[in-house]
């Protein structure tokens, strides 16, 4: 296991340019705004079932996905709004899906937990913990067999590392040296359980050794650091050197789902993490690099209006026609 300790202040080869960073900032603010909007919609009963927000984890989604190129693929969990948007899915159609509209990414059939947009390489959000890691491995297998040099990026949570499917997928990717990047968003909790209560290792990245692949731990709230670590893992994968297990340390600002007040958190924990909120951190970095305050403000304004427009358009769309029930079962 390796701990990534490079500082984001010093620019490293392959790092995003200032313009790219502004784009990433905008995307992170969009995701934050998206999640806030969904939370409001949920309390207004416009979102059905449950919904799992990623506020606070935006740097993982945006940093990691920014290391991909067209043709690569990404799969994630029910807490995947951010990852799907980071791949470039339309705000409007993503909103529409969660609001259950026919214009939604999945025609309103998937909802919050199943966002998929194959066109942008987002091959699915999965609601059964761990079930998508084998699938990520298969996406990588196809790349290997087809010699496309495509890479498969797979997000999953800390809590999911104890389920069988995860073990099988890591082992298969390891023994076949498949081009997958396993990105574990360690936000300290699986539902209401803190990691140490379920998992007898301190650093999840340590488990990588058991699968014959490198494990790297990174500050998951530092978008530049995430991007660097994932870019390196992606390069290894493309070069045929096999999978990497990346553990991004991060924190979800909200509860696990729906209206969870997250009372299980020790006092002060949230506040400490809010000090490391990835969005202000990126803004500070941009300022440090000499990017004009106006440009940063513009990114924020653009993000906010894109979210507002996307939401309004989605709300205006109509519900799916009832006949759609019978479609999409078989090809």
């Amino acid at each position: 296991m390796r701990l990534d300790t490079t500082s984001s202040s010093a620019v490293v080869e392959g790092d995003p340019t200032d313009d790219e960073l502004l784009g990433m900032l905008r995307r992170m603010i969009e995701i934050r705004g998206f999640e806030d909007e969904i939370q409001r919609a949920f309390t207004k009963n416009l979102v059905r079932g449950s919904t799992h927000l990623c506020n606070g984890q935006e740097a993982c989604a945006v940093g990691a996905c920014s290391a991909l190129r067209p043709g690569d693929s990404m799969v994630c969990t029910y807490r995947g709004h951010g990852a799907v948007l980071a791949m470039g899915a339309s705000l409007e159609r993503t909103f529409a899906e969660i609001l259950g509209r026919e214009t939604g990414l999945c025609r309103g059939k998937g909802g919050s937990m199943h966002l998929t947009d194959v066109e942008v390489g987002a091959y699915g959000s999965f609601a059964i913990v761990g079930a998508h890691l084998p699938i990520a491995t298969g996406l990588a297998l196809a790349a290997r067999l087809d010699r496309t040099e495509a890479v498969s990026l797979c997000f999953f949570g800390d809590g999911s590392t104890n389920i069988g499917a995860v073990h099988e997928a890591l082992n298969l990717a390891g023994i076949w040296r498949l081009p997958v990047v396993f990105f574990c968003e360690n936000n300290l909790y699986g539902e209401y359980s803190p990691l140490p209560s379920t998992t007898p290792v301190e650093q999840l990245a340590d488990r990588a050794a058991g699968y014959g692949m490198p494990g790297v731990r990174v500050d998951g709230n530092d978008v530049v650091a995430v991007r660097r670590v994932v870019a390196e893992a992606v390069a290894r994968a493309r070069a045929g050197e096999g999978p990497t297990f990346v553990e991004g340390l991060t924190y979800r600002h909200r509860g696990h789902s729906r209206t969870d007040p997250a009372k299980y958190r020790p006092a002060g924990e949230l506040e400490r993490w809010l000090e490391h909120d990835p969005i202000p951190r990126l803004e500070a970095l941009l300022a440090e690099r000499g990017v004009a305050a106006a440009a940063i403000a513009q990114a924020r304004a653009d993000a906010e209006s894109a979210v507002a427009e996307g939401y309004a358009a989605a709300l205006a769309a109509s519900a799916p026609a009832v006949e759609l029930i019978h479609e999409d079962v078989y090809a």
Binding site: K109, H114, A127, G159, A319, I325
Partner: protein, 325 residues
Amino acid sequence: MSEVTYKEAIRRAMEDALAEDDRVFMIGEDIAAAGGAFKATEGLWERFGGERVLDTPISEQAIVGASIGAALKGRRPVAELMFADFAGVCFDQIANQLAKYRYMTGGQVTLPVTIRLANGAGAGFASQHSQTVENWFLNCPGLKIVVPGSVADAYALFRAAVRDEDPVLFFEHKGMYNAKGSLTDDAPPVEIGRAAVIRSGEHVTVVATQLMRQRAERAAQALAAEGVEVELVDPRTVLPIDFETIGASVDRTAHLVVVQESPLAGSWGATVAARVVADRFESLDAPPLLISAPDTPVPYAGGLEEAWLPSEQRIADEIRGLLAG
């Protein structure tokens, strides 16, 4: 007697089972301090402590396997699998180990394991969190499968499940957690494997469970206003099924209707229809009516899911059609 929710009835049944028998313990994800994903186990950990209410990692195979192992030593585990759909990740433990263990060992072991699963559609949880999962396990003799459809049944069947010497899959319909009903302190114990006649009627036997039982009951009320008397039978246990009670009702009404919130293929409803017709062909004045969901997964959007589930209206209309036909 008190008026409580379905969820509270189950919570109370768990509390009483834990209090009654030291061998009983609960095991599952976030069921202790957090009180469970559906808050059904609230207060149990506080009262009984961490050796009776155990939080686990996200490892359903280990949850079921640990329950089996503990039962081999005389414990009576109650495992919570949260959404019933998660039975898919520990299917082998349930269908190949738990169900067959006694048989394979020639009766050397008994497995008083209860597994709680939150079943069913209607709440917008989409395809992977909305199934009526009991149908996956019907072809697994060795299991008993109960599907309580009322507050009283939820309490009584849970108590019976924990007392039962055999493995019981206990399906709670999550669409009913907040439904209210009355719970008497001195209600007679309910036997696993016995259907209940919820409402007597002479014109047609309607067999339904859980959410569909609720809807069928309202449909029956509507039909009663038109002079059609429905006999509503809730099998309550779908493995093994009480064909006797259902059949006896059909002998009287000469009409069989099955209502279920799942596709037909491989369902308990198909099993009921096949067996009752085979046994009581002469009793029937009309073909059995099968009211099922479409042959599709459960869709997310509200309008779609609502249309997917058999409605009170559809149930009433189809029964009218049968009797008119």
